[in-house]
Symmetry: C2
Subunit: 465 residues, 2 copies
């Protein structure tokens, strides 16, 4: 942790102690003033801590003492269970205010998390036209552009002058999610151009919007996947991207701060999938908030698939059993050969899956990748074989033919695993599935079976079993 963050944490810690002390003495206003030294994100963090240390009533009292504009911001930063407690604890009039002042997309996020009875309570307070909008948003699938967007954007008329536009922004800008990009629609609500606030500010007041707006803007469709949306943000470096429906009507915008969360979610999903954990609920719940049963359900499928795969591995061994018991020392090298095959295959798969996710490689690179992995596999296999030859002969004191069996198997297994690990993700991508779904467990279990077969084949060859 860096120095500054540590300083800040110590500061927060000290304030927390102070506030808890003040609350004990019932000096609520002084406690509130201590809170108000911080910004909304940190206040929310302090309130969370206070909830843990004392009764929820203290948090509610403190929350009610916050200036209204602060409390709205703080509310949207609180974890959802604290939000429920607070909503239960405060008056309808206060809810009313929070609902009215909260940003549209924060409201959506909050409603998605809250239990149904609270949602009803909040929707009741929401103006009818906005309620309709909220319901539209809540119905978009969780991972599409529609669920990320906000309708709080600024739209300008193409015939306005820059001066008129700035005047208008001054009037309505307070309520918009961003005023840094403004949108120009035609009479049919179709998006015809965008203009950034920086362009407005550095342009002369008399210039007309239509002469400075950009028409080569990038946009998303409501049902585009959030992963594609975040790709566009990364590619173009925009602060906001407009979202249109299939008639090219502007329905909302997505801002870059929401994309940071999407990127983190997508990376988490990929990492979990690659290691055989399937998030069935597609939730953004943390590890600790997921129930034991849900954890079991998320992890069991791959383990059961593996178990079935190992039935075949077992069959290969059983067929070889008689010969194996003659040269029992071969058993001692089985775990190493299978383990190395599995791990080296995962390495290749990881690099290709990640490369596909970040657009560094593409299915059309298949031959380049194959040629590279063949060389990498051969070199690694050769190095590991030489090391193993030394081990089998000198350390374990086995004969040269046993060593030859183990080492030639090692070479073939590594080359095979590298090719398998690199080619399978490309194949999965080619048939338009998520390459991360072919998890490392799958690659290592296939390479296990092949590793055993190669090993036994080498034994037949060199030891004449």
């Amino acid at each position: 942790m860096d120095n500054k963050a540590m300083d800040l944490d110590i500061l927060l810690e000290e304030s927390l102690e102070k506030i808890l002390g003040l609350l004990e003495e019932k000096k609520y206003f002084q406690a509130r003033d201590e809170l108000l030294k911080y910004n909304a994100v940190d206040i929310a963090e302090l309130l969370e801590e206070i909830t843990e240390e004392t009764e929820i009533e203290m948090t509610i009292i403190l929350f009610r003492l916050l200036p209204k504009d602060v409390s709205v911001e703080v509310f949207s930063e609180l974890p959802s269970d604290d939000q429920v407690e607070i909503v239960n604890g405060i008056t309808d009039k206060e809810i009313d205010f929070i609902v009215k002042e909260m940003d549209f997309d924060d409201k959506i996020d909050i409603l998605e998390e809250l239990p149904a009875n609270i949602v009803d309570k909040i929707l009741e307070k929401t103006p009818k036209n906005e309620r309709k909008l909220i319901n539209t948003f809540l119905n978009y699938p969780d991972t599409c552009a529609g669920s990320l967007m906000t309708p709080d954007y600024i739209s300008l008329q193409k015939d306005w002058t820059v001066g008129e536009a700035l005047e208008y922004i001054k009037k309505v800008g307070m309520d918009a999610e961003t005023i840094y990009t403004c949108y120009v629609k035609d009479s049919g609500r179709k998006l015809i151009g965008i203009v950034s606030l920086s362009t407005l500010v550095i342009s002369d007041d008399e210039v007309r919007i239509k002469n400075i707006m950009r028409t080569d803007y990038v946009y998303e469709n409501v049902y585009d996947d959030q992963e594609d949306v975040s790709e566009d943000f990364k590619k173009y470096g925009f602060l906001a991207i407009p979202v249109v429906d299939k008639e090219h009507r502007l329905v909302g915008i997505i801002t870059v701060d929401d994309i940071l969360d999407v990127m983190e979610e997508e990376a988490t999903e990929d990492i979990e999938r690659m290691n055989g954990v399937i998030d069935w609920e597609n939730s953004d719940k943390g590890y600790l908030d997921i129930s034991v049963w849900q954890h079991v359900l998320n992890r069991l499928p791959w383990l059961i698939i593996l178990m079935i795969a190992y039935i075949f591995t077992g069959m290969i061994i059983t067929r070889f059993e008689g010969k194996l018991s003659e040269i029992i020392c071969l058993v001692a090298y089985m775990p190493m050969l299978m383990g190395t095959g599995g791990n080296t295959g995962s390495q290749a798969a990881t690099l290709i899956i990640r490369g596909l996710a970040t657009d560094e490689v593409d299915t059309s690179d298949v031959w380049k990748i194959l040629w590279k992995e063949l060389r990498v596999g051969f070199l690694i296999g050769a190095i590991l074989s030489v090391l193993n030859f030394a081990r089998v002969c000198w350390l374990d004191g086995n004969g040269a033919m046993v060593a030859l069996t183990v080492c030639s198997a090692m070479l073939f297994i590594v080359v095979f695993a590298k090719v398998l690990g690199s080619m399978v993700p490309l194949l999965v991508k080619k048939i338009k599935l998520d390459p991360a779904l072919i998890a490392n467990p799958a690659i290592s279990s296939v390479s296990d079976m092949v590793a055993l077969s190669i090993y036994f084949a080498m034994a037949l060859l060199f030891l004449g079993l």
Copy 2:
């Protein structure tokens, strides 16, 4: 891929064909006009394709025909080898212009990538004061806040009025990386406050900056790690964060678009480390750009560590060899027990490592995590044991005592692997190392050894070997 992106790609593809045709007929200006239908990012993509399809000279000619302001933007989007070719192909006067117009932080990025002779050529053209600055930036370690920042920010005086500030921004805003957040410094260059463009635009012209600037801003120190910086962007949702030196003097700002790249890099690093690939060069090179030897060096260390670990696994088997040859059918279940242990351990490790990276869990949650993993492990172990009992008895036709050996071993192995996989990352974090460094290969090799020991212990117990 979504519809819109597909539409766009098809469009690009069509334009590419058209341009290549025009180039063949030597209609350079028409080819340029076709290019100019797109934004800088897409033009760069097209030029890349053109380089692949024809000679580099074509790209250079086209590039030289672009309007100067476009060519600057396009240049910074090109891959570094194309940049080198172009720099080699164009005149000093043109380099001069590019160097002068390029954003400061783009220039840094480009200089970090280019070969030394080209860097000299560019630095030669750079004004002396900026050259000094560039050298300062280039000397910051690659992964700290200093290497991400740009000095192209707008600074305001605290006694200015909003009107004066907007007038100033109109004059100098063109050259700044962002005008959306402006910075207020005292006479000693110390940062005393920030004010957003949106605050300026919606405030009255007569208000003084000092009355609307925020003093509870978040900042970074130059040597803060980029991972902490991206944490702050995620936490607070800012568009830019100021960077100060140890005297709290403002030295630059970091903008959110650069953080998207950092987040992707950090996720890639974690994913690779977790799967036993170490990126020694700490490079942002893609898979295809890394040489075969570097690939070997990145992957070999963990494989060699594993090989050493497997010497111990082999020793465990060798000690048991005599008894194993008596009941050779036990060998057939070894891969399954070791494989399941390894994979179930990786699942737990993955969830905890990712939870630590995204701040969802913390080392202080150790008891909660242990209790959760014990229950998850017990449930998964029990389910897999029951399924295995059926397999061993009915499918394989082995006796009940063999089945009991396999199933009780399975239960213990799964519980042990879950505990190992979840506790080791917490321990590594506690001693302040990156938990991703204790890769899945390490966890599966330790769990392999323990799995074998448990299996043989159960065999002694139930089969009286």
